[in-house]
């Protein structure tokens, strides 16, 4: 409990910062929405020629499109790696290290607060638009506990990836703009946020199944749509838990290894 009291303020600060800028985030999400609408028309034209694609009916595909985008917004944000890269570039990382908190946990709390608020605002707007105007279906009530657990694990997985990329700033004079962009792109595609993984050819599907990204969007979206039950559901959650633990361990090791390289601009 004492631990909780020490870390909780970081979650609150991150969330409050976002909420203070809520209009900004709400307006920004128009871009994401437009992209989904364009994909909606693409699929509408495709479904005029067949009944199912990758095992999904038109209604399921539209739901997939919206829900996967919502989860992408809830699970990942480039600010996660840019925050730590900024500390490293400015030398302020030293201040973070003398704080009597484990830096990685503090950063995870920051990410949770940030994503909870940004994801809530942006993801919420996309979701409500989908529900009201595009007949996006609601999840089964019984799927909710697994869905929440899956989303939490997805956030941890995405955080682990971001933390590792942010830590690269120790090795690149603090600039990670390029690799951060690359990660966002690979994440969008390989997580199934742009197009369902069931449409991937089998060789590509095998590749992305062995990558952590699909555990970020594809698994929670599949749970939402009710595609995973019983043993397959437990297996999917297990895969997520393994990725989450593995990435956190790797991130922790990499951070401490890189710390030996730290140079602080003196003055």
């Amino acid at each position: 409990m004492r631990e909780f009291d020490r870390y909780w303020p970081t979650v609150q600060i991150a969330a409050k910062f976002v909420v203070a800028n809520r209009t900004q985030y709400a307006l920004q999400v128009m871009g994401d929405l437009l992209q989904i609408v364009v994909m909606f028309f693409i699929w509408r034209a495709a479904y005029a020629q067949a009944d199912t694609f990758g095992g999904l009916t038109q209604a399921e595909m539209i739901s997939y499109l919206f829900v996967a985008q919502v989860f992408r917004l809830v699970v990942t944000h480039s600010v996660m790696e840019q925050q730590i890269a900024y500390w490293i570039r400015s030398g302020d990382i030293i201040r973070e290290l003398v704080v009597p908190l484990v830096y990685m946990w503090k950063d995870l709390c920051h990410a949770i607060g940030w994503l909870g608020a940004v994801g809530g605002i942006s993801g919420g707007l996309v979701y409500v638009t989908g529900l009201l105007f595009f007949d996006v279906r609601l999840p089964a009530l019984s799927a909710l506990p697994a869905l929440l657990l899956s989303l939490l694990l997805a956030i941890v997985i995405s955080f682990g990836i971001s933390f590792i990329i942010g830590t690269l700033a120790f090795w690149s004079d603090g600039s990670i703009w390029g690799i951060s962009n690359a990660k966002q792109v690979v994440m969008a595609f390989a997580s199934g946020a742009l197009i369902p993984l069931s449409l991937f050819p089998s060789w590509l599907r095998q590749v992305v199944d062995w990558l952590p990204f699909q555990a970020g969007v594809h698994i929670p979206t599949s749970i939402y749509l009710g595609h995973l039950h019983g043993a397959t559901l437990w297996r999917a959650l297990g895969v997520q838990a393994l990725w989450a633990a593995g990435l956190l361990a790797l991130a922790n090791w990499f951070f401490h290894y890189s710390l030996r390289k730290v140079t602080i601009p003196g003055g």
Binding site: Q24, L27, G31, Q49, F189
Partner: protein
């Protein structure tokens, strides 16, 4: 003419400054290539399911995508500085440009956008490759038309982005401009996938169909484009630039600086 020289000088200065972070530049190029691969991959995965969308096959749609992202990339290369405008207006930094004996607009535009440079290179590759498999025959008139359409498309995007970012003079939310920029996405696919009313809008009102759809239709011959529609692109490009310039002037006349 003086403006052009100044613009080129400013752009070169930016390029030298950015050359400092070479590794970041290279990963940025890789990211841009990945971005195009992801978009084309999505396109390819959809076309693996259906032979045609809106009457276009995969090679023809890729020509469209290549043309669209080439014009957008060129616009971003020429005018990346527009994205700094919201911040400059809020911080009052535009003052520095206004006291210089040259147009503030010309001073604002040139910012090296590494994404845009690789976007242009990758889009050009995609366009030429796709044109090859779509059976485009490059004769002198065809190449001349493509060049003209590229200039028009770039002008349409430049006018649009100038108008959008001029909103900085009214609103403190850069998110609005980022969101509105998303409207360019409507030009990424054949117009035939949209309902009739939306097709009319992206042809005549918000003429982004001229940045990809019509040029690709003419090049590949997938749709008959009446000559007067192709010609209208010129007028619409001029109108877009005019609208952008008007918004900029109007906004600038409201600018009051930020005090201290």
């Amino acid at each position: 003419m003086r403006s052009v020289v100044l613009y080129v000088d400013l752009l070169r200065m930016q390029l030298v400054a950015r050359g400092q972070y070479r590794a970041d530049f290279l990963t940025g190029v890789a990211a841009s290539i990945l971005q195009h691969m992801a978009t084309l991959g999505t396109l390819w995965l959809i076309f693996a399911q259906v032979p045609a969308l809106g009457g276009w096959n995969v090679a023809q749609a890729a020509v469209l995508y290549g043309f669209f992202s080439l014009t957008l990339g060129l616009t971003n290369f020429l005018a990346s500085g527009l994205r700094d405008l919201p911040n400059m207006v809020r911080q009052g930094e535009l003052d520095g440009f206004l006291v210089q004996p040259a147009s503030a607009y010309v001073q604002l535009l040139p910012r090296i956008n590494l994404n845009a440079i690789s976007d242009v290179a990758v889009s050009l590759t995609v366009l030429l490759g796709a044109a090859q498999s779509a059976g485009v025959r490059w004769s002198l008139p065809v190449a001349a038309y493509a060049l003209l359409a590229m200039v028009c498309g770039t002008a349409i995007f430049l006018g649009f982005l100038t108008a959008v970012y001029s909103l900085s003079f009214w609103t403190p939310y850069p998110g609005l401009m980022g969101g509105l920029e998303g409207l360019t996405q409507l030009a990424r696919f054949p117009a035939g996938i949209y309902p009739r009313w939306l097709q009319v809008i992206i042809t005549w009102v918000f003429p982004v169909a001229f940045t990809g759809h019509f040029p690709a239709a003419v090049l590949t011959g997938v749709e008959a484009v009446p000559w007067w529609t192709a010609l209208a692109g010129l007028g619409l490009a001029a109108a877009a630039l005019g609208a952008g310039a008007a918004m900029w002037r109007w906004g600038l006349s409201r600018y009051e600086g930020a005090g201290n």
